[in-house]
């Protein structure tokens, strides 16, 4: 194996530190890339210094992923140069980029689940055992341990990856990159599936890697953490680099301004729904998924927020109401009538909708037509029994889709052809068509861009105005405070707070949600 670039440039810095500014870890100049008719990137220039965290932000479809895939050798640019530590590189494939010290950690981690931590770290470069054809398991474990110690990670090399929490899996990915002597580390939405405490630990790790001289490109939709963590911020919009500046000179409104190219004065719509009588009453809800004695009510026209740390049981409450998890105890009434719900089909029949947090896994049938995805829960209700009339189905889907302003080439296009935000709108359109009375939205704005988020808020508002009741589960306190009338707080499977939004503060909610962690 070639000597790691990290070592080479580290010595370069040591020699020149006093006289010159440190050389760039990465310089991408004039990068352009076109896919068919779409100009994904035009003339993008990005420079990253070693020992810094460089945040890359932009709405979905702005070109962040494409740019990073070019850096990782997955795509080849139509024009432009890449320099790694001052040396011009052309990456014909991902292996070449790895060799040059560029490592990517994707949002969906790609670890071999059944293998151990050490086996994952050394995958493809296993130390040899007694015979050259054998894997030296002892040697491998020792080297993994040494690597972890060197960067002070607390992880057991013999643990199976499938038993690890998501946060630890990320540590394994990072160790894998460090084993390859990575000097440039790209992290794509690393905190999207982490709990609050795991995220805090990850930030520590990122800071430590930075202090060891790595250049870190950090992609995230969570602007708070970017302001907190990054040294520099670059903003992409419509395939162009529109802004690049030290983070100290940036704040969230400024970043948002550059991302969307307009001020988001009415980011959160003003609430105008009339709150009516009680629509849904939940009492004493418990399930084997770990929730106990959860009770609350939702009125017509009311948006009830639900806060809590990851693992506090928020999704489990939704699953128990919707019939995905079996209820152990508890009663759910809708319009004063006690509901008997044993499956999602029962819940939907009774007018309950559940927009799940994982739209790829439990939401969409990706290869099926958009229109099919919209009508799926309503096929039998909207008069398609016994037969589906395709023409009428397309019209209905097109109509509800345009009300949701879903951008598609045609209702017949597969759902996979839509961007994340549009996929989410497609799923909301589904429940709009099902004409549900009570809608549960679980993290509806996760992983979608700022513009689409604002549209989702507006839609929540509109649904409330129509007299529907909404339970809005979110991990982002600002949006709970911007949208909800009341905020429920979950902690360890129990409801620990039921607050009127106007009379509380984010600090109080956070305290209720996390108080046990603090003591």
């Amino acid at each position: 194996m070639l000597p790691g670039w990290s070592l080479i440039w580290r010595s370069v810095i040591d020699n020149h530190e006093s006289q010159n500014p440190p050389p760039l870890a990465l310089r991408m100049t004039g990068i352009s890339k076109r896919f068919g008719p779409v100009q994904a990137l035009s003339d993008v220039t990005l420079t990253v210094r070693p020992g810094t965290v460089h945040a890359l932000v932009g709405e979905n479809g702005a070109g962040k992923s494409t740019l990073m895939k070019i850096l990782a050798g997955v795509y080849q640019p139509d024009a432009g140069d890449i320099e790694i530590h001052g040396r011009r590189e052309v990456f014909a494939n991902p292996a070449a980029a790895l060799e040059a010290g560029v490592s990517m950690i994707y949002q969906e981690l790609d670890l071999a689940e059944h293998l151990t931590v050490a086996e994952n770290i050394f995958l493809g470069a296993e130390p040899r055992g007694a015979l050259p054809c054998m894997v030296g398991h002892g040697k491998m474990a020792a080297q993994a341990q040494e690597l972890a110690r060197q960067y002070s990670f607390d992880i057991r090399p013999s643990a199976a990856v499938e038993d690890l929490a998501t946060g630890d899996c990320q540590i394994v990915e990072i160790l894998k990159a460090l084993r390859r002597k990575a000097s440039i580390l790209v992290m794509d939405e690393p905190t999207s599936s982490l709990s609050e405490s795991e995220a805090r630990r990850l930030f520590e790790v990122v800071r430590r890697l930075r202090s060891q001289g790595l250049a870190i490109i950090y992609i995230s939709h969570r602007l708070e953490e970017i302001v907190d963590l990054a040294d520099e911020v670059s903003v992409l919009r419509d395939g162009r680099l529109v802004h690049s500046e030290p983070a100290s000179a940036m704040d969230i409104p400024k970043i948002v301004h550059h991302m969307v190219g307009r001020e988001l004065t009415d980011f959160f719509p003003s609430r105008s729904a009339q709150i009516g009588d009680v629509l849904v009453q939940v009492t004493g809800l418990a399930s084997d998924a770990g929730i106990e004695n959860v009770g609350f009510e939702v009125r017509r026209g009311e948006i009830v927020g639900m806060a809590g740390l990851v693992g506090a049981g928020r999704t489990e409450v939704a699953r128990a109401i919707f019939g995905v998890d079996k209820k152990r105890a508890g009663v759910v009434t809708l319009e004063g009538r006690e509901l008997r719900i044993a499956s999602p089909a029962d819940a939907i029949r009774n007018g309950i909708a559940f927009l799940t947090e994982d739209r790829k896994r439990t939401g969409l049938c990706l290869e099926l037509a958009c229109s099919w995805n919209i009508t799926l829960p309503s096929l039998e209700q909207i008069g398609f029994r016994p037969f589906i009339k395709p023409g009428r189905e397309s019209r209905i889907a097109a109509d509800v889709g345009s009300r949701m302003s879903v951008k598609w080439s045609s209702p017949r296009a597969p759902a996979s052809s839509l961007s994340g935000g549009n996929q989410q709108k497609l799923l909301i359109a589904r429940w709009l068509l099902a004409d549900s009375k009570f809608l549960i939205f679980d993290e509806p704005t996760r992983g979608i861009d700022v513009g689409a988020k604002a549209e989702v808020y507006l839609l929540l508002n509109r649904l409330a105005e129509e007299g529907k009741g909404i339970l809005f589960i979110s991990s982002e306190l600002p949006e709970l405070f911007g949208v909800a009338d009341r905020i429920l707080v979950m902690r360890r499977g129990r409801l620990v707070g039921n607050l009127v939004t106007k009379e509380t503060t984010p600090e109080e909610v956070m305290h209720l949600a996390a108080v046990e962690e603090k003591t």
Binding site: F322, F354, T362, E367, L376, I388
Partner: protein, 318 residues
């Protein structure tokens, strides 16, 4: 557009094949008699393939169809020869036919129940029942066949000079087309195959739909078994040996995906006919059945390879 071309490809190959064979063997291939012969032979596979199409679209597989066919035929044969006479009476033929259909239905129901109630993978369940059904069909008459010399209606008679079994095939194909395209059951089948969890969360009763699909497949197999019995005027315990592979091949050549969510009745019909005409043509050209196996194998791999390349291109152009 791309999708359209992809679907046309097997059809184009079929037309090309027929044209080539017509040119090479005008006297033997290009006759109504030969065409009806090929279609008649396709009917058994084709009818079963309609069920298999739904099963594969739902993300499952049914390996037991060949054995199921043998059992269904054997039950019918057992009943038809029950009175000990060599020539079965019309009443016994009727009862036997219904019993054969019922056997197929029951076998399919058993597969479906094991898959949904015990939550087992379809591959494992049907691998098991493939072996069990075959064993039962051997046990029923000590490994020997039942002769039913006058049971000719389903397999050998014609209506307006079209073989009855071809008409039945046509009817089942229309039924399959209609179910998959125009009923909630069909739509749910696609949804389950595409993303079972998502379908469940959208209120689809996944288990009930799977049960129906496997049971319907069993019924189709029972029908095919009666046609096969009638074609050979005998119920054989070795009927349908490795038939499941031919049928899965036809469905896959027709554009279905073994990971589910994709497939059409029309594609499957084309896949079935492609294999039948190829067999027929190669036989007429004097090429041995052993070589035919090699050619069919190559076509399966080729069809899927072309399909994959087209999909990869479609994804990239996005």
């Amino acid at each position: 557009m791309n999708r359209f071309i992809r679907q046309l490809l097997p059809f184009g190959t079929l037309i090309l094949l027929i044209a080539a064979l017509s040119a090479l063997e005008p006297d033997t291939f290009l006759t109504a008699e030969n065409f009806f012969n090929v279609l008649s032979r396709s009917s058994v596979n084709g009818i079963i393939a309609m069920g298999m199409t739904a099963v594969i679209i739902s993300g499952g597989i049914d390996l037991s169809v060949g054995s199921m066919m043998a059992v269904s035929g054997m039950v019918a044969g057992l009943i038809m020869t029950k009175d000990g006479s060599i020539v079965p009476t019309p009443v016994l033929m009727w009862v036997g036919t219904l019993a054969g259909l019922a056997t197929g239905l029951a076998c399919g129901l058993l597969n479906g129940a094991l898959i949904t109630k015990l939550n087992l993978p379809p591959f494992i369940v049907t691998l098991g029942t493939m072996s069990a059904f075959r064993g039962i069909s051997y046990v029923m008459n000590d490994g020997m066949m039942f002769d039913v010399p006058t049971y000719t209606f389903l397999g050998q008679s014609t209506v307006a000079s079209i073989p009855v079994n071809v008409l039945i095939f046509l009817a089942i194909a229309l039924l399959g087309f209609f179910i998959l395209r125009y009923t909630p059951l069909g739509r749910y089948t696609y949804a389950i195959g595409s993303n079972r969890q998502a379908a469940y969360h959208a209120g689809v009763n996944v288990n009930r739909n799977l049960l129906i699909i496997y049971t319907l497949t069993g019924l189709f197999v029972g029908l095919a078994a009666m046609i096969a019995t009638s074609r050979t005027v005998s119920a054989q315990p070795t009927a349908g040996l490795s038939l499941e592979l031919d049928i899965i091949a036809a469905v896959v050549i027709g554009g279905a995906s073994l990971t589910g969510g994709r497939g059409t009745v029309i594609g499957t019909i084309i896949g079935t006919l492609l294999i039948s005409f190829l067999r027929n043509g190669l036989t007429l050209l004097g090429i041995s059945t052993n070589i035919q196996l090699v050619v069919i194998g190559a076509i399966i791999i080729g069809a899927v390879a072309i399909d994959q390349m087209a999909r990869a291109k479609a994804v990239e152009s996005r």
